[in-house]
Symmetry: C3
Subunit: 152 residues, 3 copies
């Protein structure tokens, strides 16, 4: 297996990984603005310096804000793992079509997770399904990478 | 120093990095199921949609669940740092035996951290020792990488 | 575009990326000690095993400790994204001076964020400005990388 050959512009797996990773990272970064929007809408802040001189705002926990925070924390628990697993998987020189579909479905499921958790709450198992899809893809990519490179 | 030579299948440092990173990522992903197991066992949930139509469950904080959450958050504070530091360290073409032992001990200490924190709580300094071992290895790999590539 | 040429010791973008990433990771890891220092100073802990046999300490939330925790969590929301974006950006073979300045400013702004949030709280918009600088640099690097490698 030639790892170096996977790091070429001509490798669609590398290009797809960078494109879909970028889309997922943009989604992750937008969570901060979703939190900020809900804090502003509900007047609920965490730090004294954020409410100084403003009216109708206070230090309090608000359920809408906390919901976005939980979705954001769930992202932190899953997105870096997906991206590390994806990079190792790129190195393992996988089938191009399979790899691209794993990136596409994994990223879209994560975007779906944010929608059904933080934007428009939907009854279970909507959130569980979107969560488990990306997690299973991450696990698959990890196991495929370990299988390709195994050395303890 | 030839960075490209470190990205070859023949490089046991790269293979060990991918293998041990994969093991650590699987451990990280399993934390979600450990949380889920404790939520189910104690009937303690965070979201209204998770308890709809179920009996003996409620929205509440439970100490066993929160303990796993704290262990998971501690993972997020340390595992991505360990993995980024490890990748830079692979690029720096380190001694093979040293690098493999750092990966092995760093990952096993993190698994130990989860055990003594979230699964079978042990009195201090058990948790502190497992925590500091991985952290010191991470710091060492960062400093070795900066030393090899230093350019501000 | 030749991705492999970006992975050479002679590439100052790669060297700058590893150096500044390392500095940022060291800052991230030091947050644990800042939390520990504040827990000790205020006697505020989260786990029963941390206060066993000690005097003047208890299980409680303390605002100084929680402030550092919030700064740390904000790091987790932004630093891995910055590092993944930076790595993809290195692969895209960017202008050397531009890339180095993005790394320098992005990392220094994050260090500034910690100072005005967790060490010496300053009134807004100090924290917001330091936050948004690194975030905009991260977004720019993501978009530049997607533009260079685009493949869905």
């Amino acid at each position: 297996m030639d790892v170096l050959n996977t790091l070429k512009y001509e490798n669609d797996v590398l290009r797809g990984y960078i494109t879909w990773s970028g889309i997922l990272l943009i989604k992750l970064l937008l969570m901060a603005f979703l939190t900020g929007f809900n804090r502003f809408r509900k007047g609920a802040y965490e730090n004294p310096e954020d409410i100084r001189g403003r009216e109708n705002v206070e230090i309090k926990k608000d359920e809408d804000v906390e919901r976005v925070r939980r979705a954001h924390l769930n992202d932190l628990e899953n997105i870096p793992a997906f991206l590390f697993a994806g990079l190792a998987y790129v190195f393992s020189n996988p089938n191009v079509d399979l790899a691209l579909w794993l990136f596409r479905i994994g990223v879209l499921a994560r975007i779906g997770h944010t929608i059904v958790y933080a934007i428009y709450p939907v009854r279970q198992p909507a959130r569980f399904i979107t969560f488990i899809i990306t997690l299973l893809i991450t696990l698959f990519m990890i196991i495929a990478s370990i299988a390709a490179f195994f050395h303890l």
